[in-house]
Structures are given as structure tokens and as C-alpha cells.
Symmetry: C2
Subunit: 210 residues, 2 copies
DNA sequence: ACCTGAACACCGTTCAAGT
DNA sequence: ACCTGAACACCGTTCAAGT
């Protein structure tokens, strides 16, 4: 009583450990669920709620960790602003595509964690080096994240196998959709990294064009 | 037997009716689920599987219908390619933002339905009018859809109320994140239509800049 | 303060059965 | 051919209870 000694049980968990377990779940190819994360921690599902208010908070924390796994350090250094922004965008795409189910987390997760803040600050710095005034740099930073996350969402959605996609595109009627039929070989590569880099380069061109 | 007369029961359902019911579910503010759609049709959940192979097929059909609800006709006519593309992109954004839960459908739905095909063909036509050769027009069309869907996904994710977002942004420490703190007022509008149009205009600038 | 047992209201999906 | 009853393996979340 004098020392207020009753410290209670030592907590065996923490938000960091929960997030790490969620990343393991993702790496195993499964979707992040409260129950799957709890199982990996050898704990009952409702234990998670001692540390996080709800599933959205879990998603948010995991999403922020994924932005960190993409290595925001490539946004720093003395390389050109274009390389810095481009390399990080490609890294985010890779990190998310390697983990099916990762992009879904961003649906319920506003990008407001510490990693998102760091990424945002460094994007602003890069666009300042590109010559953009504050307001445009802010809008540009958001536009880049919009493009990157949109690309992952669309790629993830297309679960068709290579031959399935080829067959579908080959089946486009040339009389009703001549341009689509003619460009089917390009559309077959829409989910590839080359298309991602092409669109990103054009976006960056446009962002600094005034 | 002569007339092969046993036609069996008249089907009371169809894929079109199921999709219409799913849109009603979305309009009511609920997420599309097999069970919610079935309930609206006064039918048991497993009945849906007589018409569609799985949930992904339902999502795909509903997603295509949403692209149609955005009115692809604005992509035609003798207005400038920029207005055509811009108006449709804004319409897609509006249609999806008006229905929380709509953007989630695009996760499991490759854009391969009839409306997606029509939209694709008309985007190719618009970019041809902008002077792009076939391959670049194809890549440009996909980049625009990438940007539009990414913007909706990010807007939808940010469920913070106005004051919550303002408080969060005001709390950014100016010493560690000077640029973010300075541009917080702009970041507060990232989910608005003005930001969407700004980024889209820059993307279109970049797409036709060569 | 931390963790659990039990329960609730949801999911998508299957399979055998009825008409 | 179309629809259902019943069941299975999942979800997120709550609440009272145990330590």
C-alpha cells in the first residue's frame, strides 16, 4: 500500500506486437482479421480490444506499418526529386502487391499514422525541390499517393490468370469496339510495373508543368 | 412430351434484377452482401448462386452498373477531349462517393463488364482526339481510371469528421514536420472535389505533354 | 490492468432435398 | 430449372467474469 505496489499482471502484448503479428498474417497470404491476428498471438480474439478500440484502428496501424516497410528513406538524400518520389511510389506498390489483402486495409484507414506523416513531409520536400510552391506541393503529394494506391487496388482486383485475361481481351468485338480491340495487347499489360511507371512519369510531368 | 412442354417454374429472378437490388442496398447506405441482396428480393441467400457463381461475380456486375450510372454518354459528343474525360471522371467519383461501400466492390471486380468496355473505348477515342497514338491512349485511359478510383478509395477511408480532421492536422508538430504543419489547411481539403479536379488536370497535362 | 468464456449478429458457401 | 433448409466455417464486437 505504501509503494502502491500492486502493479497487476505484466502485459504480454502491445500495439506494436499486434501490428507485427498482423504483418505476419499478411505475409502468410491471409487477410488481416481480429481473429487471425489473435490466433497468431495465442490469445483470444477479444484480447485485441484491450489495445485497440476497433478493427479500423488495427487496419490503420497496419497500413501505416506497410508505408514504413516500403522504406521512406528513399525519399531522402541528394538524388533528384523525380527519383526520390518515383522510387518510393514503386516501393509502395511492390510492398502492397506482395501482400494480397494489404490494399484493403487502406479502405478503413485514413493515412494519419507516423509513417504517413513522415512520407508526407518528405514528399513535400521533394516537390519543393521541383520548384512547386507550398500549396501545389501539398496537392501534388496527395495526387501521387492517390495514383499509387489506385494502381494497387486495380491490380489486386484483376485476379484473372494470364491466359484468362488474354482470352478475354482477344474476344473484344472489333466492329463495336475497334480501338479496344486494336490496343488489347497494351491492355494486357495494364497491371504491370511498366504501366505503373509510365503513368507515374506522366503524372509527375503534369505536376511540375507550370 | 411432343412439345417438350415441361418448362418448369418461371424464373422470378435474373442477374439484372439482382444487380438492381444490390444498387438499392447501396443506396440505402448498406454494404453489398449476398444476404442483404437476397433479403431485398425476398429470397433465401443461396438462391443468388443460381444466377451468379460467387460473391466476386456479384461485385463485378454491380461495379459495372456503377460505371454505367456515372453516365458514359458524357464521354461522347463534340466537346473537347478534356471536358469529356474530366466530366466522366468527376461523375464516377460522385457516383461512388454517394454510396459508401461502392468502392469496395472494385477490389474484387476486374473492370471487364460491358460498361467498362464502353467507357474504355470512349476514353481511347478522347485521347486519340488529344493526339495520342494507340499505345499511349491505352495507357492514358488506364491511368485516368487509376487516379479516379484511387481518389475515391482514399476519400472513403477518411471517416474523420470535419473537426476531427482539423484537430489532427493542427496537432502536427511544426518542428519535426514543418512543411506538413505549414500546409495543413491544404491537406484539410484533400478529399474535396477541387483537389480531385486539380490532380486530374495535372495528370491530363502530363498525359498529352509529348 | 489484463485476459477470457460465452454469446450476438453478422458473413460466403455447400449440399441434399423439394417442386 | 429454380428455390430452400440446414449446416459449416468464418467475421467484428459486447459484456460479465476471473486474476
Amino acid at each position: 500500500m505504501f509503494f502502491m505496489g500492486a502493479r497487476g499482471p505484466q502485459p504480454s502484448l502491445s500495439v506494436a506486437k499486434i501490428v507485427a503479428a498482423a504483418i505476419e498474417v499478411l505475409d502468410a497470404g491471409d487477410a488481416v482479421s481480429v481473429r487471425a491476428v489473435a490466433a497468431r498471438l495465442d490469445v483470444r480474439p477479444n484480447t485485441i480490444y484491450t489495445y485497440l478500440p476497433d478493427k479500423a484502428a488495427l487496419d490503420s496501424a497496419v497500413a501505416d506499418r506497410l508505408l514504413e516497410l516500403a522504406n521512406p528513406d528513399v525519399l531522402t538524400g541528394r538524388r533528384s526529386w523525380r527519383r526520390r518520389v518515383g522510387d518510393y511510389a514503386v516501393a509502395v506498390r511492390t510492398v502492397l502487391l506482395e501482400r494480397p489483402g494489404a490494399i484493403a486495409l487502406f479502405h478503413s484507414a485514413p493515412m494519419n499514422g507516423p509513417a504517413a506523416l513522415t512520407v508526407g513531409e518528405r514528399l513535400l520536400d521533394a516537390f519543393a525541390h521541383a520548384g512547386l510552391p507550398d500549396e501545389n506541393a501539398s496537392r501534388a503529394a496527395y495526387a501521387v499517393m492517390t495514383y499509387a494506391l489506385g494502381a494497387v487496388a486495380l491490380s489486386d482486383a484483376d485476379s484473372d490468370s494470364e491466359p484468362e485475361r488474354a482470352a478475354r481481351l482477344a474476344g473484344i468485338p472489333a466492329d463495336a469496339f475497334p480501338r479496344s480491340a486494336r490496343t488489347a495487347p497494351v491492355a494486357a499489360t495494364w497491371n504491370g510495373e511498366e504501366q505503373f511507371r509510365w503513368g507515374l512519369a506522366r503524372l509527375l510531368d503534369g505536376l511540375v508543368s507550370r
